[in-house]
């Protein structure tokens, strides 16, 4: 598994660096907007959209982009939005 991890991260280090940067910014903004429900939800929405775009970009660079892949990233992003809306609107 360690080797597979090294191979995956090594081959696509730019992509994963972008994802990691986006993640750090997401968490920073969420901390910054603490208490502001609307701004926090917008941050989650932006991060979810970013993830879909990242996924498409990553698979394009990998020459493996197809409708199923795009659908998978959209489904996971929508699922996360739904999960977090439960927490936001509880």
């Amino acid at each position: 598994m360690k080797k597979a991890l090294q191979v995956e991260l090594g081959e696509h280090y730019v992509d994963y660096l972008v994802l990691a940067t986006g993640t750090v910014f997401f968490l920073m903004f969420l901390r910054f907007f603490q208490g502001d429900k609307f701004a926090s939800y917008m941050t989650v929405l932006t991060f979810s959209s970013f993830y879909v775009v990242w996924g498409i970009g990553h698979h394009m660079r990998d020459d493996s982009v197809n409708l199923k892949n795009v659908l998978e990233y959209i489904l996971i992003s929508l699922g996360v939005l739904l999960l977090l809306s439960v927490l936001f609107f509880r």
């Binding site: 990691a20 969420l30 208490g35 199923k68 998978e72 996971i76 999960l83 809306s85 509880r90």
Partner: protein, 292 residues
């Protein structure tokens, strides 16, 4: 036994019979999760959680700490500390009970209840008064910090006019969720009434409070009952599902690397990183709660 083993392997492990991808993360199943989740959120009013079970998360919110942190903020801003007032605390407790009984999260109730109504009913006569609300927090310090970070709540916290404060920390079910409500009531007693109150017997105040308690109990009894009661809270369900997905994508990445699979699917590692970030966000949201 073999059939069960095969079924679980089909659900959770990549193999030939599930096209080398755990069935629980196939597109159709992911879509099904989304539809079920959407239905649960949409039908929240009808499929609700039991109101009397224990909180899903341990919390550390106490009135003593809330008073201490509130006064710490006032002193740091060059103001006098607030004096804890039992009548304001009673008003706060009755407000919290009313919110649970009528299932609302607002300063003003659905039947026209106002914060001032609870303060007056507790026997407190005021020149000026205010109210801050919070729910779903785990720590007293975070409640006070959230209020201080919001301009309108901060204004209440640091208002020169206010001299007294009362708190209520109450657990219960609100809008389909087990939660801890924090009600903070501020006040400055009316001087004329204060003198009058000194002559009023304690008995009279007690009678007033008991009438209010009866009223609250009656309202709780008439609160609408959900059609279906689930044995867990929506937060527990959402958090549990997130942990499940994290586990599945980690397992998928491990199995795919072990079997040296080359697939044309989305990247499980990327999904894991994304969901891990969301898990951290969830913890941040759970710890921080909501203010009003």
């Amino acid at each position: 036994m073999n059939a069960i083993k095969k079924f679980f392997s089909y659900l959770f492990l990549p193999a030939q019979h599930n096209n080398y991808r755990a069935k629980v993360i196939h597109h159709d199943v992911l879509t099904a999760y989304l539809v079920v989740g959407f239905l649960l959120v949409s039908l929240n009013k009808f499929v609700v959680l039991p109101f009397d079970n224990v909180l899903g998360l341990a919390k550390d919110i106490t009135v003593t700490k809330l008073v201490e942190y509130t006064n710490e903020q006032r002193v740091n801003n060059g103001l006098k500390p607030l004096i804890y007032n039992q009548k304001l605390a009673t008003a706060a407790a009755n407000k919290a009970q009313n919110m649970f009984a009528n299932n609302y999260w607002a300063h003003f109730g659905p039947n026209g209840e106002t914060p001032w109504q609870f303060i007056t009913a507790s026997g407190y006569r005021y020149e000026s008064a205010g109210e801050n609300l919070a729910k779903n927090f785990l720590y007293s310090k975070n409640v006070v910090s959230a209020w201080m970070n919001s301009p309108t709540h901060r204004e209440n916290m640091l208002r020169k006019d206010f001299t007294e404060v009362g708190f209520a920390v109450v657990d219960g079910g609100l809008v389909g969720e087990q939660t801890t409500l924090v009600v903070q009531m501020f006040g400055r007693p009316s001087e004329a009434i204060q003198v009058q109150n000194k002559t009023t017997t304690t008995k009279k105040i007690t009678t007033k409070n008991s009438v209010l308690s009866e009223f609250t109990t009656a309202q709780m009894a008439s609160a609408p009952k959900p059609m279906i009661q689930l044995p867990f809270t929506s937060t527990q369900l959402a958090s549990g599902f997130l942990i499940f997905l994290l586990g599945i994508f980690a397992l998928d990445f491990y199995m795919a690397s072990k079997l040296k699979l080359v697939r044309m699917h989305g990247k499980s590692l990327a999904h894991f990183i994304f969901l891990f970030a969301i898990a951290i966000a969830t913890i941040m949201l759970l710890v921080n709660g909501t203010i009003l």
